[in-house]
């Protein structure tokens, strides 16, 4: 049964005539934000076998298998969803369906080799729920379980692949007060343990006590070409993370960063990015006394690389709203667009995500301003293929939108 909503979706999907793969896709009349910090411009985009072939003012004479008329709507690269457990957590409190953390494993060691990518499920309902809202990729998190080093993850692309990982291996290190209290009664216990762990990198495998041989190998490799995400909000904790990273030659990123504005010059001069939630403006704990709405704006002005995360997995789609609020509180609009599109790929070592020839065509056509809550993704394009725009939630809507249900809703199967 086809509902009004279905036909509406068809209508707003533009002129897509054929819901299967096309070699050449042409998007005309886009108001294109290419994913850098520049303003939007009116451009056509030609996609050939999944890659952007040309971006120019007028490609309307080019032959294509399918043409989508964007009719002046904004086109962006598919967005970054933040640091999430999308594909790692089907339902938050159904613990056998949540795989983002290591805990209760009584080895007495840290396990930096714990890799959440082994648990990634691209067929999770959360993946299409997130994708249809305009999101193309995310950084998989190893959440805090009961160890200072939580484990590792990397970027993942929402193209449905089992192995759609890219970018640098990223380690998560908790150094905040909450986790410190759980670990050894003090955040200083984190630094004590971390110093000891890094001392063990030069110890024979047989003499290791805090990590296993594979954990040691993982950290040694990461020191060469991996990333270390330090979870810290308090200014002094961020400061310690910078000191520790310099001492051990790590490539650090700050996640949380509620008080990062206090040491923004230091962050700028060391080139350390901050991944923050621009909605944080309450002293939720004594780590975040300085949380403020213009944190992103202050950091960006000082030259710090700012990215966003919402702390949400199922509602990761809220990240556009987070970025929009950063803009509403002083961050330059183009900086927010860049932080939602190409910059996370750059920071985490993924493939470039801009609208430029030669790059993969993960794109979104928006109904309005992509950073505003009064707009939505009209059409997501992954690898040059228009997405079905279906998710478990759109199917529930199709079932419950009709006012009459005949024999019952169970008979309305989208």
């Amino acid at each position: 049964m086809r509902t009004f909503y279905f036909w509406l979706c068809v209508l707003i999907s533009g002129l897509i005539s054929d819901p299967v793969w096309a070699d050449r896709l042409l998007i005309i009349n886009g108001n294109v934000l290419i994913g850098d910090d520049g303003p939007a411009s009116e451009l056509d985009i030609l996609v050939d076998r999944g890659r952007i072939d040309a971006v120019a003012e007028d490609l309307k004479s080019v032959e294509a298998d399918r043409v989508i008329d964007a009719k002046g709507r904004i086109v962006t690269p598919a967005l970054f969803a933040g640091i999430t457990a999308v594909g790692l957590s089907e339902i938050g409190m159904v613990y056998e369906a949540v795989d983002s953390r290591l805990n209760g494993l009584d080895t007495g060691r840290m396990h930096p080799e714990f890799d959440v990518r082994k648990a990634y499920n691209p067929l999770s309902t959360v993946v299409p729920v997130t994708r249809v809202e305009g999101y193309g990729y995310s950084l998989l998190t190893a959440a805090f379980g009961d160890r200072t080093i939580a484990g590792q993850g990397s970027l993942v692309r929402f193209d449905g692949g089992f192995d759609s990982f890219e970018g640098k291996t990223t380690f998560y290190i908790n150094v905040d007060g909450y986790s410190g209290n759980k670990i050894g009664g003090s955040r200083a216990a984190h630094w004590m343990l971390l110093e000891s762990v890094f001392d063990e990198l030069s110890v024979d495998d047989a003499d290791l006590t805090l990590i296993s041989a594979s954990g040691k190998a993982a950290l040694k490799a990461a020191r060469r070409d991996g990333l270390f995400v330090f979870r810290a909000n308090r200014a002094s904790d961020i400061h310690q993370a910078l000191l520790f990273s310099r001492k051990h030659k790590l490539n650090p990123i700050i996640s949380g960063g509620q008080e990062a504005w206090i040491i923004k010059e230091n962050l700028a001069s060391t080139g350390v990015p901050v991944v923050l939630n621009a909605l944080d403006n309450l002293p939720g704990s004594f780590d975040g006394i300085g949380a403020r709405l213009d944190n992103a704006a202050l950091l960006h002005e000082a030259g710090v690389t700012v990215l966003f995360t919402s702390g949400e997995t199922h509602n990761a789609r809220k990240l556009r709203q987070v970025a929009g609020n950063a803009v509403a509180n002083g961050l330059a609009y183009e900086a927010a667009v860049e932080a939602m599109t190409s910059l996370p790929a750059e920071v985490f070592g993924g493939k470039p995500r801009m609208i430029a020839p030669g790059l993969r065509a993960d794109l979104v056509i928006w109904s309005g301003d992509p950073l505003d809550v009064n707009s939505a993704a009209d059409q997501v394009i992954i690898n040059g293929v228009p997405d079905s725009m279906q998710s478990r939630q759109t199917e529930l809507l199709e079932r419950y939108l009709p006012e009459e249900a005949g024999l019952g809703r169970a008979y309305i199967n989208p």
Binding site: F4, Y5, L8, I12, E90, I91, G92, M93, V94, V126, V129, A235, E259, W261, I262, K264, L279, N281, L282, P283, G284, S285, F286, G288, I289, G290, L298, T313, H314, N315, R317, K318, Q321, G324, N325, V327, A328, S367, L371, D372, V373, N374, S375, A376, Q393, L396, L397, Y400, L401, R409
Partner: protein, 469 residues
Amino acid sequence: MPVFLVFVITLFGCMTAHAQPEAFPSTYAAPPAHPTLFKNATILTGDGRRFDSTDLYIEEGRISWVGQGDTALDTVVVDATNRWITPGLIDVHSHLGVYPSPSVAAHSDGNEATAPVTAEVWAEHSVWPQDPGFTRALAGGVTALQILPGSANLFGGRGVTLKNVPSTSYQGMKFPGAPYGLKMACGENPKRVYGGRNQSPSTRMGNVAAYRSAWIRAQRYQADWDRYNQAVENAAEAAADDSSGASVASALLTNTPPRRNLELDTLAGALRGDILVHMHCYRADEMLTILDMAKEFGYRVGTFHHGVEAYKIADALADNGVCGALWADWWGFKIEAYDGIQENIALVDRPKGGCAVVHSDSDEGIQRLNQEATKAMLRGNRAGLSISPERAIRWITLNAAKSLGIEEQTGSLRTGKMADVVLWNQDPFSVYAKPLQVYIDGVLRYERGNSDLNPQSDFELGQLLGATQ
């Protein structure tokens, strides 16, 4: 008849469940308000109307007129050209004060999770007025809010409706004349909390059995008081016409009123309709079970909160006059929230008589109720439901006021109502919208960018000294 006996009868006649001296009364009194004229605004009245390029006048703390009318000589004039005006926003589901910032363990005062039925506790006794969340919500345009106990218990206790004004006591915030709420909870939370301790309830059927047992006790309690009050009345009548010795017997009977019970006071108040029932419930089937139970015991469910599956039973909610206080997009955090869709609010709003409310249950969401309403409006419109701003604003104003039983006092810009007003920099249905001014009872309580009108809690003073930019 001896004067003494008349005195005794009169005294006990007053001491019914209804006529106790008011406990913890509101001490809120609005300071004097300047008469204020907003010129040339786009006005969403909160009751479904919109006026463009129109004036609004408030005087003596009340909405005076929208359109044209007289103004006082000392009127403050606010140029609202290109600005929008809405009623003050109302959040029907907040835990500010009971789960305040910072959320340290010793501040965790929202769930008396020691027994599944704790109707005797009152959320107001846990409210910490210094929660910085109140001031943040004010900057987001929230002028009134209900503070509820959490959902660990089947009956969590009483909720309280507050004016969002800074005060050293919650009494100084208490919304004068607002009815109390009774927080109840369905589903996973109570059965998890108590089942996890090998106590009842550990199942949904255990939940329902325990609600019903409590209602039976409350019915008995109410009947005891009704019988007692009737006896007092009879005795008074008999004494008045001095007909027989029956008056003495009746008077003696009135010497032993039923023993007051705090838990049953609250439950009986809900049965009588004096206390409004606010029920945390996610699943459609459970909400229908609860509606049947309400019929069994003759009470009304006022509002289902969270109702992630409310869209599945939108007609039943409208038919029963029950509001749905809902999120725009939060879902998936537990299995009873698995079927959440972003059109939930719009679909609950669709039937004739539907009462959709956007609630926060969050110290972040309460600051951005307009953004939450925007998302819900967008999803409704994309599903073809044609929802205008003047309709959607009801979800965070008049419908919320109805849910709290304060719709005669606030929630819309009708003449005579409290002058709870927000002046916005633009159309509030956008991420870029911000309140420029917030008035409560006609008093300017917040002004963007004006440090004299940006209240701060005691907690925030003297923090981060030396952390200059």
